[in-house]
Symmetry: C2
């Protein structure tokens, strides 16, 4: 069998465990040196391929590669750069094949969300059309958890764990303060289109800890009157209330709450910030003292509290991608297949990219309680296994010892430039 090289790129928003997938790819490739040559990574994602700015992962010691498993964010850099349809982005697709040819890339591993699954499929189709032999494999990754077929998406379980833990901790705090001070705590979480992350806040409460929680999902149109009544009821009963608000919540006017007219000192509308809007609403209507937090990048970068399940699955998917490639599969994505909820049992499967690209997995309505402010038992049964287990990084001087790679460049072979 001919030994051909592999190209790996990270795409879109990074996560606490995308490097664990990279670790799975590189370590598995190193176990198959007789069939897979160098693993080149795109510097800053697919842009690195387009500009022939490749990183030679072969320059990294085994230990550094192993350390990727416990290091958050994108070790090779990521990018937000979407390739569009064949006609519109023809030059980009052709350039990719040109760069792949120059470096004898026979395996293309693209680690990202829905858009990158679509790109991966198109690259595969173009390669076939051009008669260039290429295995194109998509490795799922997105905190949004919106890819179809796979049980869940790596990155999501760790964000879910972070939000569940943080909501529980902050709720203990506000409960302590509520007699004379803060009665309302609002935490804003990611999720423009789907409430998966917000739902994870619901795990903060359980049979032993009866925490009064209100969750605002992007799937449920924000109804100010009903919301305020629900908050007031919780405060009157428990003395306090914790509110988890998704950044994607919209009002009856169809606008994001976060854009509901907050202006900065210069009169510019502030982007982001559903939490202060919600907190101010409660304060003005009910008079309760509040605190609010916006977790933003902290939630998706929080490798220190990553879900063990998530880390294992992210690694397993990277490993499976290489194995699928070595089996000669093309235009597929390895997936997580759930065999049972409790005990949680899962295995690796795979799906054709044609079934993955441009399909968005929404939260089922039956995962949201009938009043629209909480999660159901079915949702809890789905979410709970995904936050199960801790996988602490090693620490040095009181801080996680995250690796910074050398990221040495592969010498360029092409003379042509490509403008991004």
């Amino acid at each position: 069998m001919t030994i051909r090289n592999a190209f790996y790129a990270q795409s879109g928003g990074v996560t606490a465990v995308i490097n664990a997938s990279a670790c799975g790819v590189i370590e598995t490739a190193r176990q198959h040196r007789d069939r897979m040559g160098s693993v080149y990574a795109g510097r800053n994602g697919i842009i690195g391929a387009l500009t022939e700015d490749l990183i030679d992962t072969g320059q990294e010691f085994d230990q550094a590669v192993a350390d990727l498993r416990h290091t958050p964010a994108g070790a090779f850099g990521s990018c937000r750069y979407k390739l569009k349809g064949f006609e519109e982005s023809k030059a980009q697709y052709e350039r990719l094949i040109e760069v792949f040819k120059a470096h004898d890339i026979g395996y293309f591993f693209y680690n990202g969300g829905g858009d990158s699954a679509d790109t991966c499929l198109k690259v595969s189709q173009l390669a076939e059309k051009m008669g260039y032999p290429l295995c194109a494999i998509h490795i799922p990754k997105t905190v949004d958890n919106d890819l179809p077929i796979t049980d869940n998406c790596p990155g999501f379980g760790s964000v879910a764990k972070y939000i569940a833990v943080s909501t529980r901790e902050a709720s203990f705090d506000v409960a302590s303060m509520s007699a004379t001070s803060t009665k309302i705590f609002v935490i804003e979480v990611m999720g423009r289109h789907a409430g998966w992350i917000a739902a994870a806040g619901g795990l903060a409460a359980d049979e032993k800890r009866d925490i009064p929680l209100i969750i605002l999902f992007p799937e449920i149109t924000f109804d100010q009157e009903r919301f305020l009544a629900a908050v007031d009821e919780k405060v009157k009963r428990y003395g306090y209330c914790s509110i988890v608000v998704s950044e994607g919540v919209k009002g009856t006017d169809g606008k994001f709450l976060a854009d509901a007219g907050i202006k900065d000192a210069f009169g510019h509308t502030q982007l982001g910030g559903a939490a202060p809007v919600v907190a101010a609403l409660v304060k003005n209507a009910l008079g309760y003292r509040y605190h609010w937090a916006v977790a933003d990048y902290l939630q998706r970068a929080a490798r220190h509290i990553a879900s063990k399940t998530d880390v294992e699955q992210a690694y397993a998917l990277g490993k499976a991608a290489v194995e699928l490639a070595l089996e000669g599969r093309n235009a597929v994505m390895p997936t997580i297949v759930r065999a049972s909820d409790s005990p949680y049992q899962w295995r690796i499967g795979h799906a054709n990219l044609s079934e993955v690209a441009n399909v968005e997995k929404k939260m089922p309505r039956e995962f949201i309680s009938s009043d629209g402010f909480g999660i159901t038992d079915a949702c809890r049964a789905y979410l709970q296994p995904l936050i199960e287990g801790e996988d602490y990084p090693p620490y040095k001087d009181g801080l996680p010892d995250y690796v910074v790679l050398k990221n040495a460049s592969v010498p360029r072979k092409l003379t042509s430039q490509f403008a991004i």
Copy 2:
């Protein structure tokens, strides 16, 4: 020796480790049942004493008390209720003694910051004046780290660890995204008057991880031009920049940045939110894409990433408080005495409350770099040991198994009511 009861109360903003001090108090008292009777806790702090709303900690199993060591926030409730001078708050002070008499309280443990040290001292003085025998011991606690004499204040080390870890993680994230997207990440941290917590953000960078950081301290008047120039220099050199801003930063007009004119949809000025102000400043002047986070309660409640040093010291101070009381000490506060930086060595000492009350420990200017945007080696040497070590709570179902106590009431003995 007569067996007399003890009263314990938590005061002010709670922390990740104030319950570890409570654990130290209760466990040590239980080891001295021959000399110390019941430990009663104030429900919601000193208000519980004033209203004779006492919790019988004797109703809690040993395991539940042990679990306090890993549970954040205030297990008995805290309050923001400041007793003023003798003349102004005479009724309150006399009421405290009345309640203490009714329940044969011979030991008063007050767990809080500067204000509660002052209250503790005044209660001690009044008891003496009234001929009521009482040992009044203050147990230090404050994330603000602003108490004098003690090397540091329990609660601070864990917040410092959380902010250092979170800043490192989010910096890895923005570094990954910076080629095509976010170049600026702003995290807002607590500290209205002192920059101790903001300083901890500086620990995110070290020799192995050259993270471009700018810290905005409340001690340094915010200079917009110099700040923007510094940010631009970092972005041009590194491709991105992380900014740690204290909620207490003020501009040349003496106003908090957080109050710099942000209005909500109703035209009310928003409280809090220095981070969005700073982010918008950068965006408007330099055009860089940004993300911002406000950690708020998450930082001080984050028991999941508590500093082991902090937990040990918090427990040791609770234990020492009981031992000092049993030695017959009065109007004192156990302290942390630093014997050396590296290796960090510390022991328990104590200070007279007359030297503690109404004295605020500021960040020394030599802890802030000459440009005003970073920390010095001296600051690092002070801070680093305080975040050393991890002390993970036990987990169940993927979440920290924090205890909720029974908090059974002590039957009331007084017929008089007291209005708060």
